[in-house]
Amino acid sequence: MALLTRLAEGDRPALDFTLDGKPASGLQGDTLLTALLTAGEFLRHSDFSGEPRAGFCLMGACQDCWVRLADGRRVRACSTMLEAGQQVSREGSKPA
């Protein structure tokens, strides 16, 4: 289920991307954070406990929203715009 709820600006072209290899879709003008959290519940897992995280400050300060792109780049989801065809992956997982 989604974490974020869209309240306005719904009338924008859809952009398809993949999230952890599965097809997903967002809207043009979405940040990666918006696209991922209107489709899912988290962005990454903590480096230590493996607990899910979904960002915190949305202004590039907390560094808790990093995701990975297909070219290996790690980007801040709150300040990176969604592009069509992006392959986004969420890092880490809860230790077994």
Binding site: L3, L4, T5, R6, L7, A8, E9, G10, D11, R12, Q28, G29, D30, T31, T34, L37, T38, E41, F42, S46, D47, F48, S49, E51, P52, R53, A54, G55, F56, C57, L58, M59, G60, A61, C62, Q63, D64, R73, R74, C78, S79, M81
Partner: protein, 451 residues
């Protein structure tokens, strides 16, 4: 060639740029965001359609004026959006723009780096669905989203009622507003607040609008814990010894703002303790001159005074820079700006009384509370280091890694200082100042160096 550089394109940086251009200079304006405006006047993406009034409410006129000023100046500036300044040394700034590293020599620099939320963590604050108040506002303003379907707003400060109001108005379900301030504090603060009756009136308006629309507002209400599996499901709060709870799927909280001072620190500015901000701030005179002859300070990054003051401080700092270059500036204008800034400072004192810092937070924080969300350091771990005899914040950081993670203490630094002071019994201003380190934000591997 050395340039005159402004770091930050919010209200302070834009007014500073405008002033320099008006005096015939062509400054370089660096901004981490893709579109200038700063956080309070942050712009939505270009293909969004909401009106300025919808986005900025009472502040629409000011926001539009700031944006138009930057748009009109673009050709007269070396404007570089999407540019992070991550280090400063030897008269140069190290930058990162679209994955490319650069170095910019400066002859003079105006630092207008703004502020972020001041956060006092509570158990469960790392659960998905918990955001800072500023983050909740950005989600709505910049992306047209609410942080959840049933949102609680908590903490204190002017943003608390403003963001709750903006959410309710945009159609979000606001479960409640939990203000940590007792009503009596707000009454005591009235004389100071009356220095800016318009700002006071807006605050009262938001609050009464919420009440009129059936949204419960509780005062002297303190967050206790956020509960949930994988995401927020409910929260517990306390009022006068009685425990309450809400079902909700999102929480936005903060206790005012904190200045973003890391660049001023790397530049070598001298810092002084500021009791009102409960923080070490770069020293500046009434014109915005720092302790260094080539560095000027303006806006919330030099001390929290709000967006109106930031505009004036940006202009004043630019005029100081021009004076120091031997240019003629209008003395009436400089005097006017300084008088206005002084008046806002008086109001700021009133705000601090109206939204007093919750002094009990550190003593009440449980040992198990995760203080540093990057390194996952608990309050108990910090207290243990203090009990070993360490009380200087950089030493404590070296021992338990609090404030050492990717955010460099931006999020937990203020709270860590409160815990160290409380546990050591020392005053908050005598445990040292968390030093900034380059890079002030993480850099990707394989950064290309521009030719």
């Amino acid at each position: 060639m050395s340039e005159i550089v402004i770091v930050g394109a919010g209200p302070a940086g834009i007014r500073a740029a405008q002033t320099l251009v008006a005096h015939g200079l062509r400054p370089c304006l660096l901004d981490e965001a893709a579109r200038g405006g700063g956080q309070i006047y942050r712009r939505q993406p270009e293909n969004f359609r909401r009106s300025p009034v919808k986005l900025y409410g009472f502040e629409a006129r000011k926001a539009v004026a700031i944006h138009q000023t930057l748009d009109h100046l673009r050709e007269q500036l070396d404007y570089r959006p999407d540019t992070l300044v991550w280090n400063a040394e030897d008269g140069a700034l190290d930058t990162l723009q679209q994955g490319r590293a650069g170095r910019l020599d400066y002859s003079k620099v105006i630092v207008a780096t703004g502020a972020t939320d001041r956060v006092l963590p509570i158990p469960g604050w790392t659960l998905p669905g918990v955001y800072s108040l500023g983050a909740a506002q950005i989600a709505l303003k910049y992306q047209g989203c609410a942080i959840g379907q049933r949102v609680v707003f908590a903490g204190s400060g002017p943003l608390l009622y403003l963001v709750a109001y903006q959410y309710a108005k945009a159609g979000a379900k606001v479960v409640a507003v939990l203000d940590s301030t007792p009503f009596s504090a707000q009454c005591r603060a009235l004389p100071g607040l009356l220095r800016q009756p318009l700002t006071l009136a807006k605050g009262l308006y938001y609050r009464s609008w919420l009440t009129a629309h059936g949204i419960p507002v509780h005062q002297d209400a303190h967050l206790q814990q956020v509960d949930g599996e994988q995401r927020v499901q409910s929260l517990r709060w306390r009022q006068g010894g009685v425990l309450h709870s809400f079902d909700c799927d999102a929480l936005a909280f903060a206790h005012g703002l904190r200045s973003e001072t890391q660049l001023a620190d790397l530049l070598g500015c001298r810092f002084a303790w500021n009791p009102l901000n409960r923080a070490w701030l770069p020293e500046r005179d009434s014109a915005g001159r720092s302790s260094l002859s080539d560095v000027y300070l303006a806006g919330d990054g030099a001390g929290i005074m709000g967006a109106d003051a930031a505009e004036m401080a940006g202009e004043r700092a630019a005029l100081a820079l021009l004076e120091d270059l031997g240019r003629a500036v209008d003395p009436q204008r400089t005097a006017f700006l300084e008088t206005r800034l002084q008046r806002i400072d008086g109001f700021r004192q009133g705000l601090e009384q109206a939204f007093p810092f919750p002094e009990r937070w550190a003593a009440d924080a449980p040992d198990t509370l995760m203080l540093c969300r990057c390194e996952e350091v608990s309050v108990g771990e910090v207290r243990a280091v203090v009990r070993e005899g360490h009380w200087e914040i950089n030493r404590v950081k070296a021992h338990c890694r609090v404030g050492m993670g990717r955010c460099q203490g931006r999020i937990c630094g203020a709270a860590a200082a409160e815990i160290i002071a409380s546990e050591s019994g020392l005053a908050l201003d005598s445990i040292g100042r968390l030093r900034a380190q380059a890079p002030i934000k993480p850099l990707p591997f394989g950064v290309e160096v521009a030719p």
